[in-house]
Symmetry: C2
C-alpha cells in the first residue's frame, strides 16, 4: 500500500494583494521563510495578529503567494479561544463564514468573511489519483499508526496536476492522533 505523507497545518492566513498592502504598506511583497510541500507555496517571514471582540492570537503566519481571497485557517481550539463560530470548510469555500479583524505593522482591516477550520484533505496529482483509485471531491478514510492510532473518515481528495502528494490536517487532528509533519497515513476501504 502506497503511503501518504502527512503535513500538519498550524493556524495561518492567506492574503489578497490589496489586504497585504493595507497591513504592510503599499507595494509590499512577502518574504519566503520556508517552502511548503505544495509547489510554489511558502510560509512567509511575516505574521499578523487576528482579533475578535473577545480575544486575539498574535504571530499568525502568512502563507504565500497572495491569493484571490483573504482566508484564515484556524483549529477548533483556536476557535474556542477566539470565541468565533468558524465552520469546517474546504479551502476557498468561505461564503457565510465569520469575519475577523487582522492587524499588521502598518494598518489593520476587518474582513466580512473568511475564517474557517480547514477540512482534512489530501492533495494529489491525476496520476496519484489513478494509483489510489480515487477522484477529485471524493471522501476517503485514512489510517494512521502509533500510540494514538486512529482512522480519519471524511478526508477530502483534491486532485490537481500541480499538487504534491500530501495529507493536510490541523493541530487538533495531529495532537489527537499523535502525529507530526512527515508521518505517514494510508487510505483504507
Amino acid at each position: 500500500m502506497m503511503q501518504i505523507p502527512i503535513g500538519v497545518s498550524n493556524r495561518h492566513i492567506h492574503l489578497t494583494k490589496e489586504d497585504l498592502e493595507k497591513l504592510f504598506g503599499e507595494g509590499y511583497e512577502l518574504t519566503s521563510k520556508k517552502e511548503l510541500s505544495q509547489p510554489g507555496e511558502f510560509a512567509a517571514e511575516e505574521t499578523v495578529t487576528i482579533k475578535t471582540e473577545k480575544s486575539e492570537i498574535a504571530n499568525v503566519r502568512i502563507l504565500g503567494p497572495i491569493r484571490k481571497a483573504t482566508q484564515i485557517e484556524i483549529s477548533k481550539t483556536d476557535a474556542f479561544h477566539l470565541k468565533i463560530n468558524a465552520p469546517i470548510r474546504s479551502s476557498g469555500n468561505i461564503d457565510g463564514t465569520p469575519g475577523i479583524t487582522i492587524i499588521g505593522p502598518k494598518g489593520e482591516l476587518t474582513i466580512e468573511k473568511g475564517v474557517i477550520i480547514a477540512e482534512r484533505h489530501i492533495h494529489m496529482t491525476t496520476k496519484d489519483a489513478e494509483t489510489f483509485n480515487v477522484e477529485d471531491g471524493q471522501y476517503v478514510r485514512v489510517k494512521v499508526s502509533g500510540e494514538r492510532e486512529l482512522i480519519f473518515h471524511q478526508v477530502l481528495i483534491r486532485v490537481k496536476d500541480s499538487y504534491a502528494l500530501d495529507m493536510h490536517i490541523d493541530t487538533d487532528e495531529a495532537n489527537a492522533a499523535g502525529l507530526k509533519t512527515g508521518d505517514k497515513g494510508e487510505i483504507v476501504k
Copy 2:
C-alpha cells in the same frame, strides 16, 4: 449496538490532601461546583496555575475528591504551550512523567512527577463489560459520527463496579472529531 456517552476532559488537576493544604491553607476542603459522570467525582470551584520554566496556564480546574497522588492531565496542545514533554498515560500511571510547579492562593509547590496526557478510555461496570464483551485493560476501537467522523483506536477499557459508562477524551481529541460532552460513540470490531 449500545452507545457510549462521551465526556470531554479539559485540562485538570487531582491533588493529595497534603498538596491541597500547601496551596490553599491548612485544613482546606474543596467546594463542589459540578458533579461529574463518575459517581463521587466533582469539578471543584477552586483552580490553580501550572507553570514551567517557559510558560504557564492559569485557571486549571481541580477535580475532587482528594487522591493518593497529585496528577495533572493536559492536552498535547497544552504540552506544546508549556513546552513540557508529557507522555500519554492512563490515570495513576505517573512514574517517569515530568513534574511542574503548581501555584495556589496560599502557596506553591513543585511536584517531581505527575504531568500526563490522559490515554483515551472508557469507564464501565462489570455488567457493561459483559454487555460489550470486553474486559478491563483491553483496547477497543470506537467510532464517532458527524462532520469529522473517525474511528479512535487504542481506547482503553477500565472496569469497576463503581464506574458509570462514559468514554473520556481530551479537548484535542474532541476537536479533531468534532465532539462535545453528551455525544455518543460505539465500539466497533
